[in-house]
């Protein structure tokens, strides 16, 4: 198949809240059966985009269709085809896990037998069988998250929207949830998720859009994005007392022929090079000439961090390469 089936099409989408522009001129497509990620820092507009797609927020500009149905004019059809896992733990403290799922069964118009079969299946999937009849007030954060996910899957949707599915979870729970998400994909479900974890975007998503300040900076598979940078990375660490030499070192390295880009980071320099085996010796030479004592050199394939910085001008966790220069 040349062109994978498009299940979500977003065209020039915009949303403003009074004077605040949450997203602007967003366009992307999601293909059937993939895990599509929106990666961006806090306030980038990820949740806003998701809310528009799940029809609870009307867009201010542009259009979006889900499985061919417009999210504004055919909202009801869209709602019956999708599942949603919100960013907040949107649970009712006074209901048990099972009661949550029963409620949703009613809201999705499933029959009692259908609902019960789904509930049994989902409780097993997220390992909540033993806790199903406890009031949610007594659940841990991770258990609430699992219940959230089970709720999103109850209608047996074609597309699931997950807003920061692993936010605030410990490493084990995070891995487990990645595992569920992959299993969903194996069952032919398309997943649209947001995250502000680079590793998550890298390991889990088939394709991702980097979103910052309300607009998309770049879209592609993690591999495409990384190779798109066109080089490998050298991370130089410099001794702390020599930090003032960094700008000179940067300029010296930038002048080298095989170097594509140099940025200062808090511990030294990130150097993007074309042929690491040749440029490595050249870089060390420059450092020696400028009398900088290097603490270490690490060579790696470009990481998603590098992609993020290259396209947004700052790191995902805040700060810009320029900040570090001061």
């Amino acid at each position: 198949m040349m062109n994978p089936a498009v299940v979500i099409e977003v065209a020039r989408l915009g949303k403003t809240f009074g004077p605040v522009t949450a997203i602007e001129d967003l366009s992307f497509t999601v293909h059937a059966g993939e895990i599509f990620g929106l990666l961006g820092p806090n306030g980038a507009g990820k949740s806003t985009t998701l809310r528009i797609l799940i029809t609870v927020l009307p867009p201010s500009a542009g259009t979006a269709t889900v499985l061919g149905h417009d999210v504004v004019t055919e909202a009801d059809t869209v709602r019956s085809l999708i599942g949603y896992v919100p960013q907040e733990r949107a649970v009712d403290r006074f209901l048990t896990g099972r009661e949550h799922l029963e409620l949703l069964g009613g809201l999705y118009h499933l029959s009692r037998t259908e609902t019960n079969a789904r509930i049994a299946e989902l409780l097993k999937l997220v390992n909540l069988e033993e806790h199903a009849d406890r009031v949610v007030k007594t659940y841990s954060g991770g258990m609430k998250r699992k219940l959230d996910i089970a709720c999103g899957l109850l209608p047996n949707p074609k597309i699931v929207f997950l807003d920061e599915p692993t936010l605030g979870l410990d490493v084990q729970s995070r891995l487990r949830i990645w595992d569920y998400i992959r299993r969903l994909r194996e069952n032919g479900i398309t997943i649209v998720m947001t995250t502000n974890y680079l590793e998550e975007a890298d390991q889990l998503c088939d394709r991702l859009a980097i979103i910052d300040g309300g607009s998309i900076r770049v879209i592609g598979s993690p591999l495409e994005l990384k190779t798109g940078l066109g080089g490998d990375s050298l991370a130089l660490t410099i001794k702390e007392h020599e930090a003032e030499k960094l700008p000179r070192l940067r300029d010296g390295i930038r002048a080298l022929p095989l170097v594509r880009d140099v940025r200062i980071n808090p511990t030294g320099l990130d150097v993007l090079v074309e042929a690491p085996e040749k440029s490595l010796t050249a870089v060390i030479e420059v450092a020696q000439r400028l009398d900088c004592s290097l603490d270490g050199i690490e060579y790696h394939r470009p990481r998603l961090d590098d992609v993020f910085v290259a396209h947004t001008g700052h790191w995902l966790r805040g700060g810009t390469p320029e900040d570090a220069e001061e």
């Binding site: 809310r51 949603y84 649970v91 009712d92 009661e99 809201l107 999705y108």
Partner: protein, 264 residues
């Protein structure tokens, strides 16, 4: 197709109403309070305390207790109605409402479920209030049919009040705002009405305010059902139905507008 849609609607409303019932059964404290409304204490203490102070002539009732019973019934409707939106406010704040709105339900079923629940509780409380009044010697002049009419008036008044409450819940930024607005609304509605004293015993300006307060008209319809009898009650009840129809229409319009603005 039509029938299918209706079945869906019924299923949604039922599932949502069930949620409110389950919640109430979990909150033991609030359940107790719902059953033994503070209003009852009012009825007992106020009723016997002011028994002698109140001038039976002005009240035109056998005793203050029987005068007060109608007011207490309507105040219960007022309190429950105005507080009816608060759970939706919490749902809005913690994202549960958004989750419900992402499902293929008719938007109104959330509202209807809330109304059904609040009004069922209110109806039960009215019955408890009237039974306690009975124990204290208040005999309904219009008997059992009178109770049915009182319940009907209460439900009708409750529609508008719940709509106001939900409208506020969907409009405010925080629940602090909600509760201050609620207090701001409910106290004058009680004191500037015929709930505690008859209009004739009020100063002129107060009478004017009380006249435009729907509370007054509702109470003036309920009270004769308790203390005078059908003949005096029927015109008052008819008038109350007309006024409530207008009141409900206005409140529902405003509530629906706030809801649509918040939900889209």
């Amino acid at each position: 197709m039509m029938q299918m849609t209706f079945q869906h609607y019924r299923q949604e409303v039922l599932a949502l109403t069930m949620r409110w019932v389950r919640r109430l059964s979990r909150e033991k404290f609030s359940m107790l309070f719902t059953l033994v409304q503070p209003m009852l204490f009012w009825l007992i203490f106020f009723g016997s305390l002011f028994q002698h102070a109140a001038n039976i002539q002005i009240l035109q009732a056998p005793n203050y207790m029987s005068f007060l019973a109608g007011g207490v019934v309507v105040m219960t409707v007022l309190n429950n109605g105005l507080a009816g939106g608060v759970d939706l406010l919490f749902d809005k704040e913690n994202g549960f409402l958004e989750r419900m709105m992402s499902t293929p339900i008719h938007r109104s079923s959330v509202i209807l479920s809330r109304y059904l629940f609040v009004m069922t509780i209110t109806g039960m409380q009215i019955l408890v209030i009237l039974s306690i009044a009975f124990v204290f010697g208040v005999r309904l002049e219009t008997g059992l049919p009178g109770i049915a009419v009182i319940l009907a008036i209460g439900m009708l008044f409750g529609v508008g009040l719940t709509a106001i409450s939900m409208g506020i819940a969907f409009s405010v930024k925080s629940h602090g705002d909600f509760f201050s607005l609620l207090g701001f609304l409910s106290l004058p509605m009680i004191f500037l009405s015929s709930a505690l004293v008859p209009l004739s015993a009020m100063p002129g300006w107060m009478q004017v305010v009380a006249m435009v307060n729907p509370m007054t008209w509702v109470i003036d319809a309920v009270r004769p059902l308790i203390i005078t009898g059908w003949e005096a009650a029927i015109p008052q009840v008819a008038l109350a139905f007309v006024i409530l129809a207008i009141f409900d229409a206005v409140c529902l319009y405003g509530g629906a507008k706030a809801f649509r603005r918040a939900i889209g």
